[in-house]
């Protein structure tokens, strides 16, 4: 059983995510959208969406740093004050995320207009996010100094997955809450191609590197009749 959840599921999720997102981007790019509902309801959204996004972005990068630089994190945590800063800070951002998420869920339920644009997969998104954030917060609260044990116990597990020699011993010894947290996190990866999660994959990072104006010439009129330069099979740029 633990092999399924801690080895099979992670690998399956990553494969589904990769194949699913690429396939869907190529076949139905139209459906890649953040599907904003701000147009229908803006005031409550403001209260929920900003705390949620800033919170979850911080938490994502905090987990990433714990995974990539475990020794640095452990060294940082050697000092009690620094440990407290990182723990309280991360917990704060966790609470921020939860607060935002709850407001967003209430908003979805309360406004008739937003109910109309809520799909079944949106419900799945809200549930799994809620499970993820709540189990994360509870384990941080109940099992102290998560930043340290994440770096010393969870990072080796994740690393072993990446090196294709999975070692689940550390995870099996973890409390159930932490195990749920891990399993739902991997499930989330699998859900990416089938939910509005896709929007963070198309985060407009290129916007910073382009000029403001964008002109597209569908064809170069000087070359239309130039058979030397005919480029068979080149798709048009604009659609």
């Amino acid at each position: 059983m633990s092999n399924f959840f801690f080895i099979g599921l992670p690998y399956a999720s990553i494969v589904i995510m990769l194949i699913g997102t690429i396939y869907r981007y190529r076949s139905t790019e139209f459906e890649y959208s953040s599907l904003s509902s701000q147009f229908l309801e803006s005031k409550t959204l403001y209260k929920g969406v900003r705390p949620f996004h800033w919170g979850i972005i911080f938490l994502f990068f905090a987990h990433l740093i714990g995974f990539l630089f475990p020794r640095t994190v452990l060294a940082w945590n050697g000092d009690v004050l620094r440990l407290l800063i990182i723990e309280i800070g991360a917990f704060g951002f966790g609470l921020l995320t939860l607060w935002g998420l709850i407001i967003l869920i209430i908003r979805r339920l309360r406004s008739r207009r937003t109910q109309i644009v809520t799909s079944k997969m949106d419900v799945v998104v809200y549930i799994i996010l809620l499970v993820e954030v709540v189990t994360g917060l509870l384990s941080a609260y109940l099992y102290r100094w998560g930043s340290s044990w994440f770096a010393s116990a969870m990072t080796p597990y994740l690393k072993s997955l990446f090196l294709f020699s999975p070692d689940t011993a550390a995870l099996q010894a973890m409390p159930l809450l932490v195990q749920i947290h891990v399993v739902s996190a991997f499930s989330m990866f699998a859900l990416i191609p089938f939910t509005r999660f896709v929007h963070f994959l198309v985060y407009p990072i290129w916007y910073f590197f382009r000029g403001y104006q964008r002109v597209v010439w569908n064809w170069d009129r000087n070359q239309i009749r130039n058979s030397d330069k005919m480029n068979f099979g080149k798709p048009p740029e604009n659609n």
Partner: protein, 488 residues
């Protein structure tokens, strides 16, 4: 594009033509790519001209310009929640009627009525606003008096505008301006919006739009609309499938008053930034300077070098727009101070004083046929706020020309005027009889093919650059392979 406001009768035929072709769909019901507003009024969406609310357009920043409410840092930092995004209530909640109730209603004392049903939620709603809710309400407190362009007027001037005898209004049809310095293009984080090089039409790539909603804020004319159903922004496409084949866009083709003109304008793209960032008082003048003379041999040679087709150059030479804007100088851009360099020009309405009221006496006899052009019933300041970024001299100049044309034609056709009066008017507005006749002809007697001089896009040739037509014979089609389905 030129819209001749003196000829607009406010019939909304253009809006309906556009709606029936492009926006009669779920999520697009509230969009009016073409709409007609009554001025003075608040317009659609409500108070769209007030950039203190919507933060659209560009502002001068040093030697260049920057977006007011969007852009790289501002836009991306507001990507989760965009505080300046107009919401559905700034437009209206689209509705239909529950007609079946007329037949299904149980027997009662009253005649059953078809209730209004929201097209968003499907539930009964009380309709509070519509796209042209301020139609003809020129003196109203809710609409006319809330007009942003009134702000420049003194209290006394405002009051005179609303006196019953003086009450005045005109119609302002609006579509996307297909600007030279489009704020929507610049604001789009995902790069979905682009200006087509061939004809300058600004389009949104529906595949690439990710619903970051910045274009809706950035467009100061509020002509980019968010489709709440598909999660994509949409805007006027200037009926490009029609334009490509040399036909007029639907709104222009159907125009009952024949107020609309469409033609090619050649311009110098390298000067766009410098024009967009000049002083406010120079904006109109500098914009006019960017359009090039299509008869100038140097311009023709440069255009040919850039691969512009001969048919396009010929169209530019016959362009009615070039005549109104450059030759005669009687068409002005709407709100040039937004600094997007809009490509839609308006001939301002001539509303001369024909009578005066003193006390209870309403006197419709005047010494001359009309009062002075500058004694227009619409305060010059009001028109200047709309068309010249506050420059009343420029407006006066245009109105004088328009009036000179009328006096000249009156002199020619009726001949009851003091000859001197017409000549004086022509002289002071710097036009000769020939020009006045030409303006009159293009305004009043113009034929369809003179109003719309549109070169076909030669896509039949263009396709050969993209693919070998022999290979794909029989499998080209029109439209999406996938239906525009909302994402998961």
């Amino acid at each position: 594009m030129v819209f001749h406001l003196d000829k607009c009768i406010g019939c909304h035929t253009c809006s309906i033509a556009c709606k029936n072709i492009w926006t009669d769909r779920k999520g697009a019901e509230y969009m009016w790519w073409n709409n007609v507003e009554t001025k003075p009024g608040t317009g659609y969406p409500t108070k769209w001209e007030d950039q203190d609310i919507y933060k659209g357009g560009w502002e001068k920043k040093g030697k260049s310009v920057d977006l007011i409410g969007a852009g790289k840092l501002k836009g991306i930092s507001r990507i989760f929640h965009n505080p300046n995004l107009p919401v559905m209530d700034n437009y209206y909640e689209p509705w239909t009627y529950k007609y079946s109730y007329l037949f299904d209603a149980p027997e009662g004392d009253d005649q059953p009525v078809a209730r209004t049903i929201s097209l968003v939620t499907g539930e009964p709603i009380d309709v509070k606003a519509g796209p042209n809710w301020d139609d003809d309400l020129s003196g109203s407190i809710d609409y006319a008096r809330q007009d942003k362009n009134m702000e420049t007027l003194t209290e006394a001037e405002k009051q005179t505008m609303f006196q019953l005898e003086r009450m005045v209004m005109f119609y302002l049809p609006r579509i996307c301006n297909h600007c030279l310095n489009p704020a929507c293009v610049a604001s789009c984080p995902s790069g979905a919006i682009y200006k087509r090089g061939e004809d300058g039409i600004v389009l949104i790539n529906q595949e690439r739009c990710r619903a970051w909603r910045m274009c809706v804020t950035a467009c100061p004319y509020k002509k980019s609309y968010y489709n709440w159903n598909t999660g994509k922004s949409e805007k006027c496409i200037l009926c490009f499938p029609r334009v490509e084949t040399g036909q007029a866009p639907a709104c222009m083709h159907t125009c009952v008053g024949r107020i609309r003109y469409l033609g090619v304008m050649l311009y110098d793209a390298d000067r766009i930034e410098e024009v967009a960032s000049c002083d406010t008082s120079d904006l109109v003048e500098r914009q006019m300077g960017i359009y090039l003379d299509p008869f100038d041999p140097a311009v023709i040679a440069a255009a040919k070098k850039n691969g512009i087709a001969d048919s396009t150059i010929e169209s530019a030479q016959a362009s009615p727009v070039y005549k109104f804007v450059k030759n005669w100088g009687i068409a002005l851009p709407l709100h040039p101070e937004f600094r997007t360099i809009p490509n839609l020009f308006y001939v301002p309405p001539l509303l001369p004083t024909m009578a005066s009221a003193s006390g209870d006496v309403y006197d419709s006899t005047t010494d001359s046929l009309w009062g002075k052009a500058e004694d227009t019933r619409l305060p010059l300041k009001y028109l200047a706020s709309l068309f010249t970024a506050g420059d009343t001299e420029k407006i006066k100049e245009v109105l004088r020309k328009l009036q000179a044309v009328r006096l000249h034609r009156r002199d020619v056709t009726v001949g009851d005027l003091d000859k001197k009066e017409a000549e004086e008017a022509m002289k002071s507005s710097n036009i000769d009889g020939e020009t006045a006749d030409a303006i009159f002809r293009l305004t009043s007697l113009v034929k369809f093919e003179e109003r719309f001089v549109i070169p076909a896009a030669h896509r039949e040739e263009a396709i050969e650059m993209i693919e070998n037509t022999g290979d794909v014979k029989g499998d080209t089609g029109f439209g999406f392979l996938n239906e525009p389905k909302r994402g998961l």
